[in-house]
Symmetry: C2
Subunit: 658 residues, 2 copies
Amino acid sequence: SVNPDLASERQTASFSVEKLTALLDGGAEQTRIRRAVVEAIESDPVFSRENQYFQTQNERYEAAVRKAVHLQKKMHEMGWTENGPEYKYIYRALSGDVAFLLHRVFMRSISVLGSDKQIAKWIPLATQHKLIGSYAQTELGHGTYLQGLETTAVFDTATQEFILNTPKISAMKWWPGDMGRSATHTVVFAQLYVHGKCYGIHPFIVQIRSLQDHSLCPGITAGDIGPKMNFEHIDNGYLLLKNVRVPRENMLSKFCEVQPDGTYVRQGSQKINYFTMTTVRISLISDEVLTPLMKACTIAIRYSVVRRQSKLKPGEQEAKILDYQTQQEKLLPQLAAAYAFHFINDYLQELFNRGYREIQRKNFDMLPELHALSSGFKAVITQHCTAGVEICLRACGGHGYSMLSGLPSLYTKILASCIYEGENTILLLQTARFLIKCFMAASAGQPVPPSVTYLAAVKHGKCPAKNKLDFLSPDIYTEAYQHVAVRLISNTAAKLQDLIQSGVKKHDAWNQCTVQLVQAAKAHCHYIAVKNFAETVEKLETKAGIQKIMKHLCDLFALHGIFSNTGAFLHDGYTSAAQMDMATASYLDLLAVIRKDAVPLVDAFDFTDKSLNSALGSSDGQVYQRLYEWAQKSPTNQMSPAYERYLKPLLHNTLSKL
Amino acid sequence: SVNPDLASERQTASFSVEKLTALLDGGAEQTRIRRAVVEAIESDPVFSRENQYFQTQNERYEAAVRKAVHLQKKMHEMGWTENGPEYKYIYRALSGDVAFLLHRVFMRSISVLGSDKQIAKWIPLATQHKLIGSYAQTELGHGTYLQGLETTAVFDTATQEFILNTPKISAMKWWPGDMGRSATHTVVFAQLYVHGKCYGIHPFIVQIRSLQDHSLCPGITAGDIGPKMNFEHIDNGYLLLKNVRVPRENMLSKFCEVQPDGTYVRQGSQKINYFTMTTVRISLISDEVLTPLMKACTIAIRYSVVRRQSKLKPGEQEAKILDYQTQQEKLLPQLAAAYAFHFINDYLQELFNRGYREIQRKNFDMLPELHALSSGFKAVITQHCTAGVEICLRACGGHGYSMLSGLPSLYTKILASCIYEGENTILLLQTARFLIKCFMAASAGQPVPPSVTYLAAVKHGKCPAKNKLDFLSPDIYTEAYQHVAVRLISNTAAKLQDLIQSGVKKHDAWNQCTVQLVQAAKAHCHYIAVKNFAETVEKLETKAGIQKIMKHLCDLFALHGIFSNTGAFLHDGYTSAAQMDMATASYLDLLAVIRKDAVPLVDAFDFTDKSLNSALGSSDGQVYQRLYEWAQKSPTNQMSPAYERYLKPLLHNTLSKL
């Protein structure tokens, strides 16, 4: 039975939850397919995550391998293929708790970087799981800056082999997934040396474990890097190479080849590679970043209508905590952000599909813009969503801190997204470099890519809002965001030029502006996100209440950004203090409006109880019962030797006899 | 041998590290005592934390019990007593990883709430560990709002007993430490009923486990609440009571007593109780909040001078990451905050000692101010330091995410401090209530406590700064902080009055102002922290470079607060945009200045390598070697059955035979 405090929230929905779910999925047919996949996965006990919070790292790893192996069988049974419409829902249905994800990266890197011959040799072996692949790029002392990698691959013309080595401890490969305990092969990135000359970083296929008995190959030292904040199911590994020899054919050679005599030949354009990197950044947003935030919102909002605490009005019963303005102000902006980023993800996907078509026609013009947008949004979205999950966790008080709430795991998982696939600060600085370049070009009257044409039209007006309702006009707030982005970009460009003109060297000047460059890049992305949300709302059908509630969320997303960063809008007087007070009033009013639909808005994310795996967030709101039942299953409720060994002697005053 | 990249940082210290350590300790003699305690604890293998990151919750709990038991012996051996000067350093030296902390709370609650007779009976039993105590207040459905607790204690005149019950699942006691597996007794808070009338919450001593064999007593259901984000070493427990009878004498009766005929008698003043609560909030700041932040700063800053990445200047070697402005802007403000909060902690301690003396003289005048300051600073400091630790973690990239860095545990531990001993938002609203009251009083010309006299002298001037150097003047920035605090408090008071005058009911009006009330309370605390730091610096001796570097940190703390919250200072034009640009310039300049002393500034915290327990932060900077050595010890480097069970059949294509 559903907790009446939760049930009542659903009776007053101002819109059709089912219609909103279909909108989020991209159509009712997609919803149907997704639900079928989820049902098939969740009804299979092998895929259960029930005991996850009680398991050790070893147990998590083993379960992930078991699931990966079982998934092969399942896909065959269900008739799911890698190109079928179900495929993209499988990983999400498993909540990512599955091994061999790097096996796919191994295959992709061979497909992209390998010659036709290499593809013909390795891809069938990998597809049939006659080997397990990994991808060894990051080193103990080297991450984002690939040119700094220290692993070496020296070509030996005599034997026609590359000799791979880890010359220093900082050169040891560190972090590659599936490598600690599973992989038999990996793609190693190393500095290529031929006849004493360094040709930079190249990829080499290296076997690391025996296909017979899984023992480490000669010259290989490898293992697991140990406990992490999350990802216990993944065997992130280390790898030391000592004079490991691989045949000449093992250097992936679509773009560069070392010929038998040691001649180094470069062929084709590598530009497509950069595109791969940007694609990965975009593709992780949905499953790795938005899904955790949406789950956290679901858990925290459902809990907040079931949990009652203190009295809002004297004499009444204790109030639902979501009725407190402070609780609304914590949770509802996170909900709005989840929707905002869902729509910006659609925008980015579409842009990338367009980019891909152009690139296939050998037109690389869109690459810089795609790189800037994917870098900036990867950083902004991961940062925003990580903070959002933490807010959800803390908003649930003590129970949020229990692993059984599901929130700690969501937080520790999403936190990693700020670091992997490009550290966020570095990514934002890449976006900033693009913005500064475009601003200079636009100022000089040169053409710039579509997303930054606004930099050409710098206006010096004032915000025209006259009352608080004006701040519910998308034109008003979108203009304000645009103004802030232009100001931050142009001011930083000016500071950079001033420094250089005053004699500071270019690289020093850049470093001295980086804190502000990061702000400028964020402002640009925030503007694009607000503008895109407003444009999306505009295009929605007005039926079933969807457009109306989405408009509220769009307003909240925009006004929350203003309220949390008032200085940016006040700085040059574009927005006056009086207008800021109006924006704040509208913002606070909106909280109370959206609060009414909070539960239907998270219901629309359509997570099953099994996928939430949370004692606080289940769809029936039976929070306390579930916490109690679940806690009883904890291994800490089995007998511990602490009593016989310590407590009994202490209580019986026989400690001295120990 | 010390990594030369770390060693070079120490050679250029602008001040005496040893002198600064002594200042932080409160004198060289204190430093000596602290080091002796740390040495004694760390040289004893029973207290080792070496394998902590590899242990399960069960293993952590058992180790904590072992340590607690061993500590009794150790104290005897060393001649340490609970009233000796060493005592306060023991818990810190153990990094809190020890059981039976609630046993102390059990004892304190009897001492404070019990009659002389009760104290005489129970305290010796507890001191001699003839029982193990806990403290059962929080319930599954009830935390901060004590009046809402649902556990009942009904007086039975016939048997002269109280009958305790958990009438609903939400009434189950939940979270009490030491209760899940260890405690034999606990203090249960329950609604007292006599002859059908409810007298509110009262404390009862209840035995829950047999002293003979530790089995649960009749009517008791108890156990461990399972996995949490941290505090694995503590057996936080649950407790269900079913018609559990305790004698009349077990109600703690210093302030209220139920006489044999059921007559309820209230005696004495309970005001001292509120003081206990405020004392706890202040006492946790040092060990539970500041120490984790100081450790995180030590780890992240040492790592940032050892880790090199990318090139700052073309042609040079890769740069230390602390040389990047963005990295400085992440870490150095956290360092400044650690010092700022260390000094505000001194201020609060002193205030509380004064308050305590007054209260002993039956003068309770200081209570409201003490309550407001302890609530506000508990919230502000825990929030700021939690965010600071997270920044440190993320600033270390992938390695910060490894448990072996020590940073994940620091984060998950400090995060809890935002929730326990009063949820932060609720505490800030209590501070705000005090501020609004004082503002109204001050406006009416009535006297107000010393920390809020500034509310009486509202000035409408402008910031007088003329260039960026003016923002290094404590008068300039302290005034600015004061102005913001006054504005936020007075504006919110005005909004509150307007709402009430327009017919909104008082409680609704309060709720509609809470988001802004929280901001006002934070601004007040931030102002006091800045003012106190500036005044502390003023009083320091100018010798040995201490005052100079502390002045830099004070400036940084103040300017970081302005830079991160420009809107508050710009809003009413107190600070102009041009002045804000000056403040920003000074802020960014300061980063480069303090960066030079960053390592000596964390060295002064004087943490041993064992207490940091971090592969990234050790004093010799041998980061990569230590990560590698440590990872090899992980249980994930033992054989897992995954190979035989799954990988081998997969690779050998014999899965179908499974």
